[in-house]
């Protein structure tokens, strides 16, 4: 319970800090507070003055931040300048698509990475190890955007790209971890006593590596979300990544900051969950 509260407090502080940084970015961006309506020649000087007055209330940075925070507390994430829609509505439309892509990508990346790492470690064949390392190495050296373009040319489902971006990182980490665990004295003793490969893996190697693998789960969520931008932008998937790309091209900072904060919150939640799981696993072992 104490650890849970600690993680909650950490999440809240990070969000407040992130919110402050985001608000500062929006407030200091060139062109902030200038309304396009001011260019309307039909408006009188009085109307223009009234428009400027409406922006002047939040002119100072602390004032703007307090206003920003109070809006956030009410669930108002602002309005997108380029799309002229509330950010919360855009998020409600787009987030499920990204969560689906990221979920599928993580499942594929973890299955492929872990399976290849296990095969590579358990087979103890240099040929298998070289081939799997080569495969992971190729994907590790490819930008997510290039993979997305290649998938578009091949008319393959773009969501799979996220899996191929996550896979080499999981493979390399898991392979090193499993190799180290497989050479521990108690594993060698178990093997010497004639325990089968599957049993050695399930009973002796995986439990030792589990906490560190769980900690990696949180990091892989961040990798998948970051890769979602080029993948969704180039494969025309209507998710948060595509929205962020459009917002960046349109310099829609209010939308970009809100998206970054939401994605950061999801990443932090995933990190906290994996940390808690890894810690409880360690405590269970102790």
């Amino acid at each position: 319970m104490r650890t849970l509260a600690k993680h909650g407090a950490k999440l809240l502080i990070t969000l407040l800090l992130g919110g402050f940084l985001g608000a500062t970015l929006v407030r200091l961006a060139p062109g902030f507070g200038v309304d396009e309506e001011e260019l309307d020649s039909r408006l009188s000087q009085k109307s223009i003055q009234a428009l400027r007055q409406s922006h002047a209330n939040h002119d100072s940075l602390p004032g703007f931040y307090l206003h920003y925070l109070s809006r956030l507390a009410e669930g108002d994430l602002g309005t997108s300048r380029t799309l002229q829609q509330p950010v919360s509505c855009l998020l409600a439309d787009r987030l499920p698509e990204t969560l689906k892509s990221v979920g599928l990508g993580l499942a594929l990346g973890w299955t492929l990475g872990l399976a290849l790492a296990i095969i590579s470690v358990m087979s103890r064949s240099w040929c298998v190890d070289l081939l799997s390392s080569l495969l992971a190495g190729i994907f590790l050296c490819m930008p997510a955007a290039v993979l997305a373009i290649l998938f578009v040319i091949a008319s393959a489902p773009g969501r799979l790209v996220l899996g191929l971006i996550v896979f080499p990182k999981i493979f390399r980490y898991a392979r090193n971890l499993l190799t180290r665990s497989a050479s521990l004295p108690h594993v060698l003793t178990a093997k010497a006593k004639g325990l089968g490969s599957v049993r050695t893996l399930v009973w002796h190697i995986l439990p030792v590596s589990a906490p560190q693998l769980l900690a990696l789960a949180g990091v892989s969520v961040s990798t998948a979300f970051a890769a979602a931008i080029p993948v969704e932008a180039l494969c025309d998937l209507p998710g948060v990544g595509q929205l962020a790309w459009k917002a960046a091209l349109g310099r829609d900072l209010e939308l970009l900051v809100a998206l970054t904060m939401v994605v950061t919150m999801l990443t932090l939640l995933a990190n906290s969950a994996s940390d808690l799981l890894a810690n409880s696993r360690r405590r269970g072992e102790a």
Binding site: K10, I13, T14, L17, G18, L25, L28, A29, P30, G137, I138, L140, C141, M142, P143, A144, A145, V146, I149, L150, I153, A154, Y173, N176, L177, R180, Q212, S222, T223, F225, A226, A227, I229, P230, A233, L234, A244, W245, A247, A248, L249, R251, D252, L253, L256, V257, L259, T260, V263, T264, T267, L268, N271
Partner: protein, 268 residues
């Protein structure tokens, strides 16, 4: 794997030398347009053909590789210096400063890297000169990529500051900047050196992603990002296979960095 590392380093040296001598090797300037030859196939004059604006692809590849290959280390140097200052002081001073720095590092590491990059990039003007766009792109990479390296540096600095030789140096009257310059920094060099080399392929990949999304180096200056962006106009793999040469070179160069760095990478 020693031979593989030697081959990788040799390849990087050759590519680096070719890029340095691009002004002499390239048959044309990266911006020169052969207007009567748009989208030409490879020939003696144009080894990799021309792009849709009639610019020589081989020349653009040489100059683009030069931009990415020389500015990524510059960005890595900037991020390593930031990591040394931020992480080093945090580990050396400890207390509330270390806690603040570690909280900031946690925040930076939780932010998905590309979201943060495009947010800060969007804050800056998009219609800048090509040279300014190169500097902005790589300066951003350097300024935002310090967090992981700072964490490692902080942890190492903390260990060094608790070691016996530092205690002895303190007892002989070595304090403050002198202690940092003479005893702490020289011992932090290996971790900073490793972080510097590890950052290079990461920054090359990030620039390529930004470039393909149209948020990187501006035309007509080539970089790997803008060269790989050409792949977007493809409809099939077999149409113009020579256009994949930049991608193949990119993969080989980044693989060479990974191979050359295998010794530098830290164990799990």
């Amino acid at each position: 794997m020693k031979w593989a590392r030697i081959v990788a380093v040799a390849f990087l040296v050759v590519i680096g030398a070719m890029c340095l001598l691009a002004d002499f090797i390239a048959p044309a300037s990266y911006a020169h347009q052969f207007r009567d030859l748009p989208d030409a196939a490879p020939s003696r004059q144009h080894l990799l053909g021309t792009d849709d604006l009639g610019r020589d692809r081989f020349s653009r590849l040489l100059f683009g590789t030069r931009v990415s290959l020389f500015l990524a280390p510059a960005a890595a140097l900037l991020s390593s210096l930031l990591a040394a200052v931020i992480g080093g002081t945090a580990g050396f001073l400890g207390g509330w400063w270390e806690r603040c720095v570690m909280a900031a590092t946690d925040l930076f590491l939780s932010l998905p890297w590309l979201f943060l990059l495009i947010t800060v990039r969007a804050l800056l003007p998009l219609n800048v000169s090509p040279l300014a766009s190169v500097l902005i792109t790589f300066a951003l990479l350097g300024c935002l990529g310090w967090a992981a390296a700072a964490r490692m540096t902080c942890s190492d600095a903390r260990t060094i500051c608790r070691s016996d030789f530092i205690l002895q140096a303190r007892s002989t009257g070595s304090w403050g900047l002198r202690l940092i310059a003479r005893h702490v920094m020289p011992n932090l060099k290996p971790v900073l050196y490793a972080q510097f080399w590890i950052s290079i392929p990461v920054f090359i990949l990030a620039e390529a992603n930004l470039g393909i999304l149209g948020l990187g180096v501006a035309e007509p200056l080539p970089s790997w990002g803008s060269l790989l962006r050409e792949l977007e106009s493809f409809s099939t793999f077999s149409a113009q296979p020579w256009q994949f040469v930049p991608l193949i070179l990119f993969i080989v160069v980044v693989s060479c960095f990974h191979l050359a760095l295998q010794k530098q990478e830290l164990p799990v």
